[in-house]
């Protein structure tokens, strides 16, 4: 029995309208899970059931997803710690650049959000929600559809989206029509069930497997075996150890080169002039990759050549399970400087200083002596003091004592200046020539998670297409006592298109009869 919601009159379960007031009684059945309760909705008993029930809820899943999105977005407001300028401490950087908000951002751990344990935990909760909500729905639905009978109760049928009562004179013709539209028909006595595209119902679950694979790939990325990302700067001619390889991998930079666009190239001339400098076209490094024998750190190891190759932008090389990318460069470090001295008689003499490891004393042909007192490879002024910013000869400055017989003069000499520090100026010294070398920046990466990401994405798409482009449709034909048929139809989406399909089937049948 069912009670009318307006006049409270008791009606039969299969009445479509209230016998008393005519109110439409039948509510459409929620067919998402075949009208059955999901298991998690049943009475819970243990704490495990309660946790399960929490994750099985799509609403909770949505909340988790929104939280992940929100937090992910917050992580993009300020630069992550990995991208703050080299040499600045996070504490100082965030506070001075962004004030109170910056400090708060740092204190709450947003500066390293994407590698924080709590962000990973949130992703874990999202994964749990996807997995458990899927398990909780898939298995009951699978079973319900697999075991569905041809004969259904009348009150199940009349609560479907498409319900008609019809006389069917030519049953064969109707069944042929239905079959012709891709339905498979099962028969039980005088009743029929036609069904097609049931696989579309699995779309969301296939899609979820794809999502879980993506999350799994993110998980695998945490392990150096699957994912490693190192960076090395190597000067021309130098050999450097690749970090975090147990000192087993060395790379030698044989020669770095930059190719620039021709300044008189008719196509780019205007653009280059506007930019005011030559524009790099591509850059590449000839490298040799070595495997090092076991050795104590600091010792010169025995190196076995693994691979010799040229890496350039967009054309990485592979060696020892790593992919080596050309990813940066620094041009024109000074490798040597040639200085010209002039004694009191005006006789000149040149000498060359190796910036990597300069010699301390120089005897010159014009009778002068140069003694290197101090060396600043990358000099800059700090107040009135000269300091070096790094050990790299980017802007070398030298302090020399130039002497002849008993007279000594102290001079500071850089590429474009020479300053006497003793006040006297008997000898002139200036830089007349220099050699430069370049530094190549190589990314050394291993990422075995990419195929997993790709597979996850592919499965995700398959699930999406499977669920979106097909509809699961069913038609029940139930013979009534008077010989007519109750026809009920169900589709999991696109009701109007389904109704059109049904109407067309019956139209054709009806027309066939009249002709």
């Amino acid at each position: 029995m069912q009670k009318c919601s307006i006049c409270k009159h008791e009606n039969n379960l299969d009445s479509e309208r209230c016998h008393n007031c005519g109110n439409v009684l039948i509510e459409k059945l929620d067919m998402r899970y075949e009208g059955a309760d999901r298991r998690s909705q049943q009475r819970t008993q243990t704490i495990i059931d309660k946790i399960w029930r929490f994750f099985a809820s799509v609403r909770n899943g949505m909340y988790i997803l929104l939280l992940v999105l929100l937090i992910t977005a917050i992580g993009t407001i300020l630069p992550q710690r990995a991208y703050i300028p080299i040499g600045r401490t996070p504490q100082e950087f965030y506070e001075s650049e962004y004030g109170v908000f910056g400090s708060l951002y740092l204190d709450l751990g947003f500066d390293q959000l994407y590698s924080s344990w709590w962000y990973m935990t949130l992703l874990g909760l999202l994964g749990a929600s996807i997995l458990i909500a899927s398990i909780d729905r898939f298995f009951p639905l699978y079973r319900a559809l697999k075991l569905q009978p041809v004969k259904r109760k009348k009150h199940f049928l009349i609560r479907q989206v498409y319900v008609r009562y019809k006389e069917i004179s030519n049953q064969e013709r109707l069944l042929k029509q239905i079959r012709g539209r891709g339905y498979r028909i099962r028969q039980n006595g005088e009743d029929y069930l036609a069904e097609k595209n049931r696989f579309a119902r699995w779309g969301p679950y296939v899609n979820h497997i794809g999502l879980l694979l993506v999350l799994l790939a993110a998980f695998l990325r945490l392990f150096p075996y699957f994912y490693q990302d190192e960076f090395v700067w190597i000067r021309d001619g130098e050999t450097a150890v690749v970090p975090d390889t147990d000192q087993s991998l060395f790379i030698k930079n044989e020669q770095f080169s930059v190719d620039t666009y021709e300044n008189d190239d008719p196509k780019f001339e205007a653009a280059i002039e506007q930019e005011g400098r030559s524009i790099p076209k591509s850059f590449s490094t000839d490298i040799i990759v070595y495997k090092a024998e076991d050795h104590i750190a600091g010792e010169t190891p025995d190196l076995d050549v693994l691979n010799q190759m040229t890496v350039s932008v967009n054309h990485p090389g592979k060696a020892a399970g790593f992919t080596i990318y050309q990813s940066g460069y620094q041009l024109n470090e000074f490798s040597s400087l040639t200085l010209r001295t002039e004694n009191e008689e005006g006789v000149t003499a040149d000498f060359k200083i190796d910036t990597e490891n300069p010699q301390a004393d120089y005897e010159l042909d014009n009778g002068l002596q140069a003694k290197l007192v101090d060396y600043y490879p990358d000099y800059q002024l700090d107040g009135d003091k000269i300091i070096t910013a790094t050990k790299f000869p980017r802007n070398p400055g030298f302090v020399f004592d130039i002497s002849e017989d008993n007279h000594t003069e102290r001079l500071f000499i850089a590429i474009d200046e020479a300053v006497s520090k003793t006040g006297t100026n008997n000898y002139s010294v200036r830089a007349v020539d220099y050699d430069t070398h370049n530094v190549t920046g190589l990314s050394v990466k291993r990422d075995l998670t990419l195929p997993v990401f790709l597979l996850g994405g592919l499965i995700f798409m398959i699930g999406l297409i499977q669920g979106l482009y097909w509809q699961h449709r069913r038609i029940w034909l139930q013979r009534q006592a008077d010989g007519s048929y109750l026809i009920a139809g169900h589709t999991n989406k696109h009701t109007s298109s389904f109704e059109r399909e049904m109407d067309r089937i019956f139209d054709i049948c009806d027309k066939g009869e009249s002709s």
Binding site: I48, A128, L131, F223, A297, T300, A389
Partner: protein, 177 residues
């Protein structure tokens, strides 16, 4: 519990336990990230062998077993190093008879630069010239960094960044054999 409920309970428990494992492993891995390449207190120190600029001899860490060793990574252009070095010099004399060795690993600057620095600060303990490998082995990416190594070769204390200089003696006392 009915058998079906019991089975359901076990399935749910297993799924939840596996998920919890994933999250715990991920967190563990993340909390340990970056530390993997760093040397931690309690670990055995990575051995190294470098040339001592003061004597011209090879300095091999594993040959110093039985003595406490302080290994400091430095450069002439690093400001905190300029404050730490004279303190090390003083301490190296104080602890000379207590079997504690100071060793300063330089980032591979030119010898002229280092010698001027040694003259300026009057340093007499071993100055070792790195080729990038020892810094890598100790996971040092910013200067200074100081390691206090016990006589048995285990790390007693690591200081990445400037020392709290007033606590230097306290730290050194921990590694006196």
């Amino acid at each position: 519990m009915t058998p079906i409920r019991k089975r359901r309970f076990i399935v749910r428990l297993t799924v939840l336990a596996i998920l919890a494992c994933f999250v715990l492993i991920a967190c563990w891995q993340l909390l340990g990230e970056g530390k993997a390449s760093k040397v931690e207190a309690g670990q055995q120190t990575p051995d190294f062998m470098l040339k001592d600029l003061q004597t011209g001899q090879e300095f091999k860490l594993s040959e110093k077993r039985g003595k406490g060793v302080i290994v400091n990574f430095w450069a002439t252009y690093c400001e905190p190093c300029k404050q730490e070095m004279p303190l090390f010099e003083k301490a190296s004399h104080t602890y000379e008879n207590k079997d504690v060795i100071f060793a300063a690993v330089n980032v591979d600057e030119s010898s002229v630069v280092i010698e001027r620095f040694l003259d300026l600060y009057n340093l007499s303990f071993p100055i070792l010239l790195d080729n990038g490998q020892v810094m890598e082995a100790y996971g040092v990416d910013a200067l200074p960094a100081t390691f206090f190594i016990s006589a048995d070769g285990t790390v007693s204390r690591t200081v990445y960044g400037p020392l709290e200089t007033e606590r230097l003696e306290e730290y050194v006392d921990e590694i006196v054999p």
